[in-house]
Symmetry: C2
Subunit: 452 residues, 2 copies
């Protein structure tokens, strides 16, 4: 039995995102292979809805599922570990605290933020890739309103109530739309001293239009919809500076305490250890079988793979990664059965970007443009369908339905930790009587005595 087991072909999959999970699932029934899935997190993340965690519509658990509970096949093991490098010569994956020998390796480690040549921006302008990122952004945004409520200096109050999102790709657009919606619908009733509807949400994009990967008419529609949601859209705005006090682009400076990053992504650095040619974004230019050049046993899929089809890059979206995962599983099985191999073909079923509640733009089957409510309905339907298989879909739908009918998402507005220390000093006028300073007694002891 033990011998039998060990003679099986060992497939090691790094990363349990959309691509890695599909590969593992598709290999889960093959009895000639055993599978080890390595991830540094214990959960698979439904990344397309991450911006809704960041804007307090959904809970972290709504969009994540423990990898162990998703992969229950007998031939599959899950290992919580951070992959450090690949030693392709020895056919070993090096993880923190050990090494894992493989027969076939599938690298599906995804993308990370790229701050181009400004790593120092990472501290002030968090991006949105992990649950931790989403929770951090949520807490920053909520804390900014708490600070504005405390702040007595109108200039600084304005600064706290200004939010800048850099990059108008799908993530930036979705964040900007949801954030603006939140300031106008979910929050106003909560504050006494500020009107959250006066918050500015500014979306900066270096290119001439938003959602650059989409046809121009959709970019136009998206811009109009964003503006209807009170998002200030500034295209052709190349950011040259970001710090705690604001953002600089061209000759302009916006005073803000909250900058969010949706601009650059780069492939996860693990693939560098393969020592094969990478493109500018750090991705591996893979073969038609999705293997790394010269390494027939190393498959690279999802956001770490650069795949071209009909002269266009295959987009870095979940459906593409899933298709690659399934294709790699098929290739591994075909090889073991010495069948002929087929090249990977991407089937573009569509891609959508949500702008706000009931607004989206998208391309169906890479040809039909959609916008407004019809696009949003397709988007929502597709996402609910994808969530099937995850137990949390009931809860997601409940939260969505609640948000839709009440403008709310109220109880997601959770700051888990203490935030007081990040807030501005309390202005004397902020909590004391609101009399003009001259009329206000110097010492509270001289106030009118309470009636007993």
């Amino acid at each position: 039995m033990e011998r039998d087991r060990d003679s099986r072909h060992h497939v090691v999959i790094v990363g349990a995102g959309f691509g890695g999970l599909q590969a593992a699932k598709a290999l889960g029934k093959a009895d000639t292979v055993r599978v080890t899935v390595v991830d540094r997190y214990n959960h698979h993340l439904f990344q397309p809805l991450l911006y809704q965690v960041a804007t307090a519509v959904l809970n972290p658990a709504d969009i994540s599922a423990p990898i162990r509970s998703v992969l229950h096949s007998r031939n599959t093991e899950v290992l919580l570990a951070e992959a450090k490098s690949v030693d392709a010569r020895r056919k070993v994956l090096v993880v923190e605290g050990g090494e894992i020998p493989y027969d076939s390796l599938v690298l599906a480690t995804g993308a990370t933020h790229s701050y181009f040549k400004h790593p120092e921006w990472a501290q002030v302008a968090p991006g949105l890739k992990t649950l931790e990122d989403a929770v951090r952004i949520r807490e920053r945004v909520l804390t900014a309103f708490e600070a504005a409520e405390r702040e007595s200096d109108p200039v600084r109050q304005r600064q706290w109530m200004t939010f800048v999102i850099i990059g108008a790709g799908p993530t930036g657009v979705e964040l900007a739309g949801a954030l603006s919606y939140m300031t106008r619908h979910a929050l106003p009733k909560d504050f006494r001293r500020i009107d959250t509807r006066e918050a500015r949400v500014i979306l900066l994009e270096g290119l001439p239009r938003v959602l650059n990967a989409y046809p121009e008419e959709l970019s136009e529609a998206a811009k109009k919809d964003l503006e209807a949601l009170h998002v200030e859209v500034r295209t052709g705005a190349m950011v040259t500076g970001i710090d705690e006090e604001g953002v600089t682009f061209g000759d302009e400076h916006i005073a803000t305490r909250t900058v969010l990053w949706g601009a650059g992504v780069a492939a996860s650095p693990l693939v560098r250890s393969l020592e094969v040619p990478l493109d500018r974004a750090g991705r591996v230019k893979v073969s038609p079988q999705l293997t790394a050049p010269g390494l027939n046993d190393v498959y690279v899929i999802g956001d770490v793979a650069a795949v071209e089809q009909n002269g266009k890059p295959v987009p870095g979206i979940a459906p593409a990664a899933m298709q690659m995962g399934r294709h790699v599983a098929k290739t591994i099985r075909d090889r073991l059965q010495q069948k002929p191999l087929s090249p990977f073909r991407y089937h573009d079923k569509g891609s959508f970007a949500v702008i706000g509640r009931g607004y989206a733009v998208g391309l169906l089957f890479d040809k039909w443009s959609m916008k407004g409510l019809p696009a949003w309905l397709v988007w929502a339907g597709v996402h609910v369908a994808y969530l099937i298989g995850f137990r949390n879909r009931a809860s997601v739908m409940l939260n969505w339905a609640y948000t839709f009918f009440t403008k709310g998402g109220r109880d997601m507005r959770l700051i888990t930790g203490k935030v007081a220390t990040r807030l501005p000093a309390l202005a004397p006028s902020a909590q004391g009587p609101v009399l003009p300073p001259s009329a206000r007694p110097e010492l509270p002891a001289s106030q009118p005595a309470p009636v007993h």
Copy 2:
């Protein structure tokens, strides 16, 4: 208008737990007062269910609600700030970054863990008071199983799979029962190398019986139910040492990597600045009007107040705090109207401790003992009723129902952060082939070449 407003009696409430929230709500309609609620967290926490967040049955958002969304009265302000001290002479509450003058002050800051004379235990044996605590405990428990799965040394594996809970009051009993249930029902399917049902859950209590505040027959029933859930109950066990490697009591030492603290609570330290007599647990011995001795404008309620009635202490539970909150609101209104004041009377409607799914013990109206399923049904009904008014009750009930019918709570098993660095080094045998070492090829490169 501004003048009108400032002539109102200013009630400052510190702490938006059960007591503070009730006081604020009861004062919310009085037009002769204005209310400021100060809390260092932005959410009210439904603490009685916190152990279910720690044991991955509920989400943090299921048992918390933003204070701002709970308190919507026009006369009420919410301030996110950490209270530092009270200057009773100047009638000022000192918070981080400022001061807040008050006419009446309500201190409802609750309790914190007490490690008696061993503050160094706080690091190794986390207690359960805040959402951060609950999430930390959940992650520690889940990570312990991940570590056991990786560990090849059976002694250390055993250590990872041993859980010690110190203190068999309601929190300790509830944690132990839920943890044991989780190891036997929610987790087993997830792991390949360990059988989570072999985990030991040990409950240590220094006193001669569990749930010491309850009648003896209920302690007996609780102990039997815990043992039926495979919890090892050790009473009369005074802990003398806790470190990263285990727990010492009497002549015994239990090797464990996970110790949870349910033993001591102490009043929050803010009341010390009042410079009035405190009891051994640091609580203020209040007057019949729940004021601090000699300070008629400073009310102390909930877990920071020591109240005796019929020679027995009023218990530190949510209903008692809520009754005190409402009584203080009434006293403040009565004083403003120069009505006679009535002393506080605690109405004991009952108290319950849950042992596991369908098991509880409790005392109804301080006289009728209940145990087993009937007690659990009363407990569940009361808690669902209390949650009314919180939007999350639908979600809580959904999660409960799911857990009840599927033995699950599966998708709450979320470790938000990366945990890999806390795990043991990967044993060579843990992920490689499971052949005996002598039969295993030294270098993976010499393994049978994969078929292409």
